[in-house]
Symmetry: C3
């Protein structure tokens, strides 16, 4: 049994952070909140999402009785959460209509439906069969030598400018400077920020190349966060972390690097 009430803007912000990477996915509901981990169809980008139950105005989750359906193998542990398959893009479209009201959610696990109520408008979405969705990816073990914390708007503005130049972007650190660089046939864009212009910087000398398409999508997903944390390495995956729901939720993107052709 799952029933909850949440501010429409909080829910929208959360779903937008997910749809930046995947259209649909398996959402885990437990007593302490929601969780999702999903990888994009091309296996290049991953999103890990967590939202605490106290981000909701109301949140009630009761795990199914063990043994009600299956047998003794099911430990109490494994029964303490429910997994549902959701078309997040569809849900987002409907939230866009509902305005700034509170949203009520109610799960009908038996019928595999999620009821959504915004004021006098009720929207019922059929859940997707979790077995038809991609398996939850394993998070690779990574160690990032460098961490940069930057204002989201500075990052997003640079990404928008880079989109006009080319298809790739370099993120790197050179001493006490964090930089982002995009190069086209005729032109080149570079953002350079010294340590004191950033919220945090681990000095170092390294950089990696990434596909701009993915970072552009991520850049939309993070638009409500004030700051983002970039975890970087040399020719290494990029991890972007930020908070949603006024700190009661966490999003982490992971993006594989591109091999530099030169």
């Amino acid at each position: 049994m799952f029933e909850a009430k949440v501010d429409a803007n909080v829910l929208r912000e959360c779903i937008e952070s997910i749809t930046a990477i995947v259209d649909e996915g398996k959402l885990k509901i437990a007593e302490d909140g929601l969780k999702l981990r999903a990888v994009d169809p091309a296996n290049v980008a991953m999103v890990s999402f967590e939202l605490q139950s106290d981000a909701f105005d109301e949140f009630r989750f009761v795990a199914k009785e063990p043994g009600a359906e299956s047998e003794a193998e099911a430990t109490t542990e494994s029964r303490a959460e429910t997994e549902i398959g959701i078309d997040f893009v569809k849900l987002l479209g409907i939230l866009g209509i509902g305005g700034r009201e509170e949203v009520e959610l109610e799960l009908d696990e038996h019928a595999q439906k999620l009821f959504t109520r915004m004021g006098s408008l009720a929207y019922t979405i059929s859940l997707l069969d979790p077995s038809s969705l991609r398996k939850e990816p394993k998070v690779p073990e990574l160690e990032f030598p460098v961490q940069v914390i930057i204002e989201t708007e500075e990052f997003r503005r640079t990404i928008r400018a880079a989109e006009k130049i080319g298809d790739h972007i370099v993120l790197g650190v050179d001493g006490e400077v964090f930089y982002m660089e995009a190069e086209g046939e005729m032109d080149k864009l570079r953002l350079g920020l010294r340590k004191e212009q950033l919220i945090h910087l681990t000095p170092g000398t390294l950089h990696s190349l990434y596909s701009l398409d993915y970072i552009s999508a991520m850049s939309k997903g993070m638009s409500h966060a004030e700051n983002i944390t970039l975890n970087l390495g040399k020719d290494y995956p990029l991890q972007i972390e930020f908070e949603v729901a006024e700190g009661k939720g966490k999003v982490s993107y992971l993006l594989a690097p591109r091999i530099e052709s030169e």
Copy 2:
């Protein structure tokens, strides 16, 4: 002879209520104001439009002298109005440019032209030959068992949400609740409003199915009205009535129902 001055916004609001159904039509001009009745090319939707002469800042109409052109058959009665064919979409496009100024209209019946003046900008539109336009439809005799008066914005918002779900919408009354329902392959949307959430409701139990395309178009035509009146029956046409020009004009849409396939 027809000459008039009218607020550009009032004229725009009126024409938008017409272009929701038809691009062009026959407008009747008489001493007491303007009238139009037209049916869409597919014969599914009808618009009836009336605008009183006192919605205008100035309004002068003098019927042609009987016998000036034709013979004795023309009774004074039938001469007391003039019918002109207008491309409303074209007129609306030009009004969009003119800003919020007053619009002067002047009919040259002999040359079959309508002069439109907005400040120092004059726009002359050739009239359409009324005989080339579809005949004015007969309004069917209808009796509606149920009447609902609802805030326009609530209705329009639901229509916008329904557009994301499917192609049809059910409008109905269930006891003291008015509802609108759209169903897609995977999801379902329902607005339910109790009597006290509406301006008026005749209790009952009935519903009809309509094509969403038409209601979406109508929903644009009513955007300036605060409330709309829905007249409903069981598998019956839908009538939507609302006021324009601060109550000095009336619009009525009529829409044929769709047969439910189940």
Copy 3:
């Protein structure tokens, strides 16, 4: 050596006045400012652009030493300016991102690159080879019998309305009235302004026909100017002059007339 700082809005306004006619062109840099003259690919429209050095917050230009590269033929006179080839559309796209900040420009003539800095964002654009660009056009010797000064917004609004009617527009003077006229198959638009509704008018009786496409483009390029000066003749080119950069820059468009087919 060329280095300058300029308000981003001033630079944007200037470049927009150029891109109304050409995408790329040869910009001349001298001690007293910038100059450009270019003709559109179809040879129908020309733009002459001048921006004084005092429109910049900082402006430093030092001409190359004569003889440093070439021989004695180069007079000091001809060395006192530098010509660079710029893709203005690309530059404008990047300025759109930078926001309202100050822009720093720095020319690397040797590498044929222009460095642009907006806050911490640096954008390097490769210059175009001036010899690959069209020759600077000669300005024909023209005498305009009639001059009209009009509020830009009145002119632009009429152009937007005319776009809905047809492909051409007549600009003319009839006694003490300036008029603009566009005619479609079914309709006709006319702006008529008496001398007292204009800032200036030379009375006369003449008109010319122009392609609306070009005037529409010019109309975008002049959007920041309060007034424009129209220089007119009978079946004669149109010259439109206006100021940019708060009077510290001047733009002049020249447009060939169309032959009236009737």
